[in-house]
């Protein structure tokens, strides 16, 4: 097993006591904790060279601009983009998906066209398309899930007809942990002439990502789930897509020239970054990428698999636990949803919280999926680089406590 014990020391919040117990943080899929290495870089930016970017003809602004653009370069390298100009900084995955849905969809979709999503999507990859469908008259089609909690790609040839203009799907489910075969789905969709997008908000922090190997047209992600700060994330886009897409927002920074009757846009990616961007957040995201690369994403993936395998094993000790997700560790990441007998997930989460264990209970912003699972809500645990087998052991002990309180056998 990879030695990740040193990693914990980098996350100050993990030293906290919760209700008199050491914190066991198992909700990183909602948002991850931040290492000192990210906090320090952000602190230093504010303390030593902060200024607005792309504006001032003075040293601080130049330093800020360099740090901001360097962060873009780090993100580009992290996902193996062809160049840094293919990476647009956004507020997060949600904004990135809205940018494409509106910036591309409003000009390319009309009545009779279809948008293909899947049953596994986070609302961030459903609602923007619904909004655009409503305005353009396009229809929505959902790729179903099979009995193994995988996307049913056998249905793809059927569903993918020439009316499908865009296929947008998740690289890893934030509920079941399922990792669909991204490159394969992308290839089939592209062969049909559709624009292809992948929501990698979860995948990006659980496995190495190579957008060139995906052969998709765009990917969306959030910094805060990958050890970076909130308020920053990104859209990677194929250069031809970014060129043809309309900017989603207008304002400062994103123009080349402004005349009274109209304007011309700054070159990609800046045409999509209207207004003063979250400068220090972007720099913090760059530091998070440095941190993950230092561990190595292959090690991160291995650690996640080992921990997930261990957790699934230990959960199987409790007969009342029912896991909603693939058993195959090569086809899933470190997010596990489950039910504990008839105890409502909300009650499970409250009791675990009393034991210092933070888990998520609910529909995880993926209502079509939880509905398909046949439950109103699930308990979800999710792992990050700082989680250990001890955390899993604490979880199991906590679940035994829930069983005691609710008298579950």
């Amino acid at each position: 097993m990879t030695d990740f014990s040193h990693v914990r020391q980098d996350f100050p919040v993990l030293k906290r006591q919760i209700h008199g117990r050491p914190l066991v943080f198992l909700d990183s899929a909602a948002s991850s904790q931040k290492p000192t290495q990210v906090l320090d870089v952000m602190d230093a930016a504010y303390r030593t060279y902060y200024a607005n970017v792309h504006r001032g003809a003075y040293l601080l602004s130049e330093e800020s601009t360099t740090a901001y653009e360097d962060a873009r370069g780090k993100v580009a390298r992290f996902i193996n983009a062809g160049s840094r100009s293919e990476v647009v900084f956004t507020r997060g995955a949600t904004t990135a998906l809205n940018m494409v849905a509106f910036g591309w969809g409003m000009d390319h979709l009309s009545a009779g066209d279809k948008i293909m999503l899947t049953m596994m999507e986070h609302h961030a990859n459903v609602v923007p398309w619904q909004l655009v469908a409503r305005r353009t008259g396009a229809e929505l089609v959902y790729l179903p899930m099979d009995a193994d909690y995988q996307l049913d790609i056998n249905r793809l040839p059927d569903l993918l007809d020439e009316r499908i203009k865009v296929v947008s799907f998740t690289g890893m489910s934030n509920v079941t942990g399922t990792m669909p075969p991204v490159a394969e789905i992308a290839r089939m969709a592209r062969d049909q002439g559709a624009l292809v997008g992948v929501d990698v908000a979860q995948l990006i922090t659980h496995a190495p990502i190579d957008v060139q190997q995906f052969q998709a047209d765009f990917v969306a992600f959030s910094g805060h789930k990958m050890l970076g700060p909130t308020g920053i994330g990104g859209l990677w886009g194929r250069p031809s897509l970014l060129e043809e897409m309309e900017p989603f927002e207008g304002g400062g920074e994103m123009i080349s020239d402004v005349q009274l009757e109209g304007s011309t846009w700054a070159p990609v990616p800046h045409k999509f970054e209207a207004g003063t961007p979250p400068i220090v957040e972007a720099i913090g995201l760059g530091a998070a990428v440095d941190y993950l690369e230092k561990i190595g994403m292959d090690s991160v993936r291995r650690h996640g698999q080992e921990l997930t395998g261990y957790a699934l094993n230990r959960l199987s000790e409790l007969p009342a636990v029912r896991v909603f997700g693939p058993a195959d560790l090569t086809a899933r990441g470190g997010v596990i949803s489950f039910a504990l007998g008839n105890v409502h997930p909300h009650d499970v989460a409250t009791i675990l919280d009393q034991e210092g264990i933070a888990v998520r209970a609910g529909h995880h912003c993926a209502k079509p999926l939880t509905r398909a699972l046949g439950v109103p809500a699930t308990v979800r645990v999710s792992f990050q680089v700082y989680n250990t087998r001890d955390d899993v052991d604490a979880l199991i002990a906590g679940l035994r406590r829930v069983q005691e309180v609710f008298r579950v056998d």
């Binding site: 209700h19 909300h346 409250t350």
Partner: protein
């Protein structure tokens, strides 16, 4: 603070064996409530005879706090007049108000259950502020149902 303060036996009992479950044909008042945060759902039917609630039927799903609160509420309001019910609602709300003390809510600390019966077991929820919404769901739904049924009552 122990978890048993929240999950009192009465609450677990109402959760396991909810009272007055079901629906009514042609109810005189009806409302639905939900708590989008955790997915608690409730549907409430009332039968009125003059200004008296004679039947209560509840359907729903959700956490033990929301479901037991609904079950206990159904017992507390069945057979009561609208005026009496308004008073129960007011006492319950005051009891769940974190700012107010139980005695200000009109409860008698020396005689637990004397004022609101089983419902007083929900006081423990005050120490778990994120769960207060769960306990209140049945009551906001009840208020909604009474508003919707008012026309009928007076006619």
């Amino acid at each position: 603070m122990s978890i048993e303060e929240l999950y009192r036996d009465v609450i677990l009992d109402h959760n396991r064996n909810p009272r007055n479950r079901g629906t009514l044909d042609h109810p005189d008042a009806h409302a639905e409530g939900n708590n989008p945060l955790c997915g608690d759902e409730l549907s409430l039917d009332l039968r009125l005879d003059g200004d008296r609630v004679t039947e209560v039927a509840i359907q729903g799903q959700g956490c033990s706090i929301s479901q037991s609160s609904a079950s206990m509420m159904s017992q507390a309001i069945k057979g009561k007049t609208l005026e009496e019910i308004e008073a129960v609602i007011a006492t319950f709300k005051a009891m769940m108000d974190i700012q107010a003390s139980p005695s200000r809510a009109g409860l008698d600390p020396d005689r637990p259950g004397a004022v609101l019966g089983d419902l007083e077991a929900l006081q423990g929820v005050r120490k778990f502020p994120v769960r207060i919404k769960c306990a209140n769901l049945a009551w906001t739904t009840l208020e909604e149902a009474l508003r919707s049924g008012k026309g009928k009552v007076e006619s």
